[in-house]
Symmetry: C2
Subunit: 344 residues, 2 copies
Amino acid sequence: MSVLTALTNHQVRLASRPVGLPTRANWNFTSESVAEPGPGGVLVKTLYLSLDPAMRGWMNEGKSYIEPVAIGAVMRAGGVGRVMASRNPDFAVGDYVNAGLDVQEYCLIPEEAIKRSGIFKIDPSLGLTPWLNVLGMPGMTGYFGLLEVGRPKAGETVVVSGAAGAVGQTVGQIAKLKGCRVVGIAGGKAKCDWVVKELGFDACIDYKNGDVRAGLKEQCPKGVDIYFDNVGGEILDLVLAKITRGARVIICGAISQYNNTAPVKGPANYLSLLVNRARMEGIVVFDYADRYPLGVAEMAGYLKDGTMKSKEDVVDGLEKFPETLLKLFNGENFGKLVLQVGRE
Amino acid sequence: MSVLTALTNHQVRLASRPVGLPTRANWNFTSESVAEPGPGGVLVKTLYLSLDPAMRGWMNEGKSYIEPVAIGAVMRAGGVGRVMASRNPDFAVGDYVNAGLDVQEYCLIPEEAIKRSGIFKIDPSLGLTPWLNVLGMPGMTGYFGLLEVGRPKAGETVVVSGAAGAVGQTVGQIAKLKGCRVVGIAGGKAKCDWVVKELGFDACIDYKNGDVRAGLKEQCPKGVDIYFDNVGGEILDLVLAKITRGARVIICGAISQYNNTAPVKGPANYLSLLVNRARMEGIVVFDYADRYPLGVAEMAGYLKDGTMKSKEDVVDGLEKFPETLLKLFNGENFGKLVLQVGRE
């Protein structure tokens, strides 16, 4: 028996499909021995996991852009970790990597997954958690969603909801770099102040303590040219009422609707797309996978020279996964939500 | 006093803004003497008027893609007529023209409107009413909407609602010419049989006598690549549930919602746009005005050689305008709805 296999791997598995908000009863805590990697594979120790709104969708049955997590399976999650054992010439023990690690302390990554680009090395000099934020999936979602679907032009007004979240902070900062007027929508004074003072947004509307309609009217006097929507629901409708001719509405998520037990609220103002010859379009980041290296390199440059910032909200402890995930749905997280699972 | 000014011009004016379906009380019937055209203007005798779902929107107050019709004004309508008097060198007495004639027997078109391309000569050898249908605004809406926003590729599945209507018949026939599988949605067996047998659609789902969900499943086994929506409401939601990766949903109208006194029903399945990286986009035909001549020339060629058909439902009599307009909203019209106002 090797040193590795003496280790225990604690895991969080999906026990049942939630109705509405997930509860403790939807999860099973299990443990098993760590196994050696097979030929061409690696073993990674999980350091940080990315907690994302999309996880709620993966817990549902039915067709989506990705297979649902099976009942009994370890919950899917992307994360940052360190290679503990390697039988692959591209990875050495000690390398820092970004990969689909799932909600567990150790992850075996087989050769097939490595060939599918399911793991890549990261530069730890920029920190580890930014690789789950601005340099990770959320960052790439914001980067490609804004630039490829939104196609911002200097002088345009860009509104982004979930402004202090992982995708939102990227979208707003990139839009500022492109010369746009950027108006965030976030919950609470602290988040609003932060995106304006620290990230350089032009304004931020506090949906928890103010009238979003009035805020949009005040902050978007020329209307909204691009809306990057992470929330859906009433806020989507309010922004649709303010879009300009030829506007682009990027549908990235609808966190207000994910735990609905009632049907999703469709945007009653969708005919504003007709009146304004506007476009509403969905984005799924995986479609841009072949260009992640370009996006990451550009964003890493901005982080290095201080042009951009990356803020993570780190919660410590695998056992806190169930209640930490819920922070996303009540807006308690401030910055990209990250679960610390292990230490270097 | 000339012969012209001895004529009486009967008119239909907007008396009040309707709530829900327009009633007789929303209209005023007036008459006045016909006037001579001013310098550079023409006088046109109305032969046929186009009755369109969009008219319902023009009766509402508030911002849209076009100014509302003012209370007391002659109701806006496009039509086909014949020049009775001309002080413009480009138009001779006897010319057949397509113009904004409004709901009245005679229309003075001033020089400014002529300069804004508000009137153009038509070739009567193809008939007159097709110029309000496949060769007119609805035809151009279908033509540019499908080709420019939908961008159909051979082999794709195109679904069009209001299939027997003016826009629908154009969309379906053009999509067939582009090598697509075309599935219509229409109300009643007669319309469904007609679009399949006469227009060559591959299938047509009768929403009044069948299950649209089951029909879509049966007729669109590979899903829906393009949906050209004229109706909104529940049918839009059912189609959104069937769209393919990268699908295009063209929002042209929402006739099911125009007379609502309740709020518009937003598409609850709009997140299908996200899952499928699909696009929902509005079309307003006026944006393509500079290219109408190209579209009309192509369509006229198809009508001449029998590749395409144009079916109009003609109702005779200006005084029947109020109740005839309602046929659009209960689906009683079979083909493009046209009001005959005068005779040659």
